[in-house]
């Protein structure tokens, strides 16, 4: 394989090179021999094993998969996947991944990041990768805490979080990663949970199929520093008959084409307030219950959904909030290159000579 295949005139694949004609890759092909070093019970284990199960099914060869991470517990993940990988520096993973992805449309590029990595030190790069619609699948492992540095509050932590650096409770308001991604113009935004393997697999599969930037917030448990309640809705946890915001209910699940109803016997639903246009919790039987449509171009609806977490619900719903099609930066970047040199690469000597040169005779 030559990186410069193109320089020699060979056509470059526009799609990640598949495994056609080869034995289909297995979980083992995506698994390294490295010992996995996360705390027992850490949500990262489940996400890793989901990734290992998922990648062979995507039809992209391991060597055409690149996983780029920042720094944090979560960012160790590339070491455990037998693909090309960069364990980069804190917060900057999207930048390295951008350099890989836009130059090599034949690769499938994933970013693994934590809530500190992505939302604090790397906030700038995250919003710009989303804004540009770089063809990256960004997995934001959100444990609402800085794990690797031993438990300080993060930009995703709730106000009042008690941690070593906030012994009297944190004062700053958290980011809502979904709202942030939507605000940055992300074309694919989803939320899922480490403990629900089926939901996780389905969400990541949908993200992998998306052409452009995909931000997937994965609610991740950190039993060591931040044991947030993690049981998904319907997993047998106790429910509260009269409180739609009860954490025990687990998050609402969003399914395209279905009305958004939840609670015991679907007694509650998300309805649009006809006066303000805002989304509110109403009666599950109300005919105005919203039917979920992640394909809505205008992101106002998805944004309102994400904000329910702060107003009416215990936490943000899970599922795909937004999935719209828009040319990726990678595609535009490659098209610009291709149209600029229809007859092959320009001749170097004529560039160097220019039109304003003169000759000194010998």
């Amino acid at each position: 394989m030559s990186p410069t295949g193109e320089a020699e005139g060979a056509a470059r694949a526009e799609e990640p090179a598949g495994t056609a004609g080869r034995r289909a890759p297995t979980v083992a092909d995506f698994t390294t021999a490295n010992e996995v070093r996360w705390c027992p019970g850490c949500g990262d284990h489940a996400i890793l094993s989901t990734m290992r199960g998922l990648l062979p099914a995507l039809g992209v060869a391991p060597e055409n998969t690149v996983v780029v991470s920042g720094i944090g517990c979560s960012s160790r993940l590339p070491y455990y996947l037998d693909t090309y990988g960069i364990h980069s520096i804190h917060g900057r993973a999207p930048t390295f991944a951008t350099g890989v992805s836009i130059n090599r449309p034949d690769l499938s590029v994933w970013v693994v990041t934590g809530d500190g990595d992505a939302l604090s030190i790397g906030g700038n790069h995250l919003i710009h990768a989303l804004r540009r619609n770089v063809n990256l699948k960004i997995l934001l492992f959100n444990n609402h805490i800085y794990g690797l540095t031993k438990g300080q509050f993060s930009p995703a932590s709730k106000v009042g979080t008690v941690s070593p650096s906030s012994p009297h409770g944190s004062l700053d308001y958290p980011f809502n990663p979904i709202a942030l991604a939507l605000g940055a113009g992300a074309t694919f935004v989803a939320r899922t949970i480490d403990t629900d393997r089926r939901h996780l697999t389905a969400t990541l599969t949908a993200a992998a199929a998306h052409k452009g930037a995909a931000l997937i917030e994965i609610r991740q448990g950190c039993p060591t520093f931040n044991n947030i309640p993690r049981q998904p809705r319907g997993s047998g946890g106790a429910t509260t008959e009269n409180d739609p915001a009860s954490p025990e209910l687990g998050p609402i699940r969003l399914s395209p084409g279905l009305p958004i109803v939840f609670g015991p016997n679907d007694q509650w639903g998300i309805v649009r307030d006809p006066n303000t246009g805002e989304l509110v919790v109403g009666n599950g039987g109300d005919p105005r219950v919203v039917v979920h449509d992640p394909g809505t171009q205008n992101s106002t609806y998805a944004y309102a959904l994400s904000r329910l977490a702060e107003t009416a619900l215990g936490e943000a719903p899970i599922g795909v909030y937004r999935s719209v099609s828009q040319p990726s930066f990678d595609q535009l970047f490659q098209e610009r290159l291709a149209t600029a040199r229809p007859g092959g690469r320009g001749e170097l000597r004529s560039l160097l000579t220019g039109s304003d040169s003169w000759v000194v005779a010998g």
Binding site: S2, P3, Y84, T95, G99, N103, G346, S357
Partner: protein, 683 residues
């Protein structure tokens, strides 16, 4: 000029060996374009040319004020020159502020051409003149040509449908036409240039060309100018030449490097003066498979470049000092990942925002040492605008061959200055391509083929590079310490020590050509007693100063460092052959300290940070004083400063402090300091 240089020829054309011309006006007057065109015209008729643009940091400082003056100085000659000249012989001043800001630098007896249009009460007031210099006799010692350039230009373009203000703006082309006539330069190239530049605005195009012609004709037909000057073509070595700016030279050197490596070029950059132009130039070259990416900040820019390198591109990032500071963590990552990467720092005055449009060489220590951990990397520096090309190619060669980030230092003077550049033939360019790994390079304990990303080439210590898409070689690398050979994460103490030493040895072993000394009096040890050594853009002024000193009958040797890390292997032995080593720098002694650290040889510093290149006359006088043993180590404060050898040459401040104590103005002159004790060590 030397009007006294050569006798007037019978045809009334006076031949000059060289002349220094400065165009000065308000930032909005188009002086940069005017100077640039004059330089291109001179280059096209075969003169050697060196230029020095100088402009305010603000896009539009208050018009008519001294703060808003923009200028462009050109040195044109019939022989090889390397500096834009110390003092202008000819000053074109488009307003009172331009006159005021530049008159003190004009050579006594020099020529002033000024636009009288704005010598009004208001114009004089804005410039801070209390009395009109046109009438108070203060310009008597110059040859003054006071002409209403604005008025004449406006009249010349009256037929072209322009608003009054736009008509007046053609005054720069009128002035260019006039000065071109004065120096016997054809203006057709400039007319062609204007045709292209204003192709979409026919009225503006026609008016500018008309003004240019009218200026020329004014010279030809009025009797105001008695003499026409001419600078004959310089005897340059045969070849195809081009007028080249440093920033463009670096851009082209990078394109050539990618071509010679058989890789696409990928640039990640964030705009910053004076480096943005490299981004602009490269952004034009999509058809050469140059991929340029304007990132959200300098960190993202280098991150993307490293990602590009990882993916098989020639990764490059360009910036200036503040951006370098932001990149330092990622540079460390490239060091430990051992990724090829070219990092260009076009230096400007610092610290912080400092003097963003002025030149300085104060990022040398940052380049050499400005990372945490043991993070060695090669550092090289361009010495002139035309050298931008070759030095960029050299930076890329080292980066690829040794799988390492390389810092290429340029500066604002090189970036914006220009001079003739001989266009190389393609077969003169080195082949810098590298073999990428395609196969496993080892077997594991049970005999399965494996890829060891940190196995090394025994000669260069370079590691194999396998890029994504290569089956069987998938591997993961990052910032954590790597186990030797496998590249797996390793916290082992002995391994860390080994890897640190290995990375250092690799850089120490970069093939760097030996230092050459220019001394007509003989080889080191048998020629001059004094060696002047520099790095970067001081090459031109130091070289011309040495030639002047030699013309005065003194002996002096010159050497210039392109490679600052690693240093040439013969450096210490060369330096030790001289009684005194003089190091002029546009900083407070960064190379001097580096030399002492690396060679244990102490040097004499000559330092200034005034945002402008050294003047040749200034350096010539310093060199002469050093040769004659006249150094200021009799001043107690300076002896103290110079005496410990470590804190070098804060001469200027010391001189001022001394002068202030004694109640005299120090006049801002930099002082040479010297340490006797360490001079002995230098033997």
């Amino acid at each position: 000029m030397p009007t006294d240089q050569l006798p007037e020829r019978p045809d009334g054309v006076r031949r000059l060996e060289n002349v220094v011309i400065r165009f000065a006006g308000d930032s909005g007057d188009g002086m940069q374009l005017t100077g640039d065109r004059f330089g291109a015209q001179a280059a096209a008729i075969g003169n050697d040319v060196a230029t020095l643009p100088n402009y305010p940091a603000e896009i539009r400082a208050p018009s008519g004020t001294v703060a808003g003056v923009s200028s462009y100085q050109l040195h044109i000659a019939d022989h090889d020159i390397t500096t834009p000249g110390d003092q202008p012989d000819v000053l074109i001043a488009m307003n009172p502020a331009a006159l005021r800001a530049n008159i003190t630098e004009l050579r006594p007896g020099g020529v002033i051409i000024l636009d009288t249009d704005s010598f009004t009460e208001l114009g004089l007031d804005k410039a801070g003149y209390e009395v009109d210099p046109l009438t108070d006799g203060s310009l008597d010692s110059y040859q003054l040509f006071a002409i209403n350039l604005t008025g004449l230009a406006s009249a010349a373009v009256a037929d072209h449908n322009l608003k009054r203000k736009d008509a007046a703006r053609t005054k720069n082309m009128y002035a260019l036409g006039l000065v071109s006539w004065m120096f016997s330069q054809p203006i057709e190239d400039t007319a062609d240039y204007l045709r292209k530049r204003f192709a979409s605005k026919p009225d503006v195009q026609a008016a500018n060309i008309a003004a240019l012609r009218a200026g020329w004709i004014y010279g030809e037909t009025t009797e105001a100018f008695a003499t026409v000057y001419e600078v004959k073509p310089a005897a340059l070595p045969p070849g195809t030449y081009r007028h080249m700016k440093g920033n463009k030279g670096i851009a082209y050197g990078l394109v050539a490097a990618a071509h010679q490596a058989g890789m696409p070029l990928f640039l990640g950059a964030y705009p910053i003066t004076p480096a943005s132009e490299v981004l602009h130039e490269l952004s034009l070259l999509t058809s050469y498979d140059v991929r340029s990416f304007q990132a959200e900040d300098e960190i993202a820019a280098i991150g993307a470049a490293i990602g590009g390198s990882f993916a098989g591109m020639l990764g490059v990032t360009v910036t200036s000092g503040p951006g370098m500071a932001l990149k330092s963590e990622a540079i460390g990552l490239a060091v430990i990942m051992e990724m090829p990467l070219v990092i260009v720092n076009v230096q400007r005055g610092g610290p912080s925002t400092g003097l963003p449009t002025k030149t300085e060489q104060s990022d040398l220590l940052q380049a050499l040492y400005g990372r945490h951990g043991e993070a060695p990397l090669p550092v090289i520096a361009a010495r002139s605008p035309a050298d931008g090309f070759a030095s960029a190619l050299e930076a890329a060669r080292i980066a690829l061959a040794y799988r390492t980030p390389v810092i290429l230092l340029s500066d604002s003077y090189i970036a914006n200055g220009s001079e003739p550049w001989r266009v190389p033939e393609l077969d003169e360019l080195p082949d810098i391509g590298i073999e990428l790994a395609t196969e496993p390079n080892a077997v594991d304990e049970v005999g399965n083929p494996v890829f060891l990303p940190y196995a090394r080439d025994p000669a260069t210590l370079a590691r194999p590079l396998a890029i994504p898409g290569t089956p069987g070689l998938a591997h993961r690398i990052g910032g954590l310490e790597k186990q030797d050979l496998t590249g797996a994460v390793s916290y082992d103490a002995d391994n860390h020590d080994l890897m640190i030493r290995t990375r250092q040895s690799k850089i120490d072993g970069v093939d760097v050509p030996p230092l050459e000394v220019d001394d007509p009096a003989g080889p080191p040890g048998s020629g001059a007693d004094v060696l002047v050594i520099g790095w970067g853009s001081t090459w031109g002024p130091i070289g011309e100063a040495c030639r002047q000193v030699r013309a005065d009958g003194l002996k002096v040797a010159q050497a210039h460092l392109r490679h600052l890390a690693p240093l040439p292997a013969n450096l210490a032995s060369v330096l030790s052959e001289y009684h005194t080593v003089l190091v002029p720098e546009m900083n407070l002694g960064q190379l001097a300290g580096h030399l002492r650290r690396e060679t244990l040889i102490d040097t004499v510093g000559y330092n200034q940070t005034r945002g402008m290149p050294f003047q040749v006359s200034e350096l010539a006088s310093v060199i002469t004083r050093v040769i004659q043993g006249v150094v200021d180590d009799d001043t107690p404060e300076q002896a103290a400063v110079g005496g410990n050898g470590a804190a070098k040459v804060v001469g200027d401040v010391t001189a001022r402090l001394t002068a202030a104590k004694a109640g005299v103005g120090a006049g801002g002159k930099t002082t040479v300091t010297h340490s006797d004790a360490t001079r002995e060590a230098g033997r």
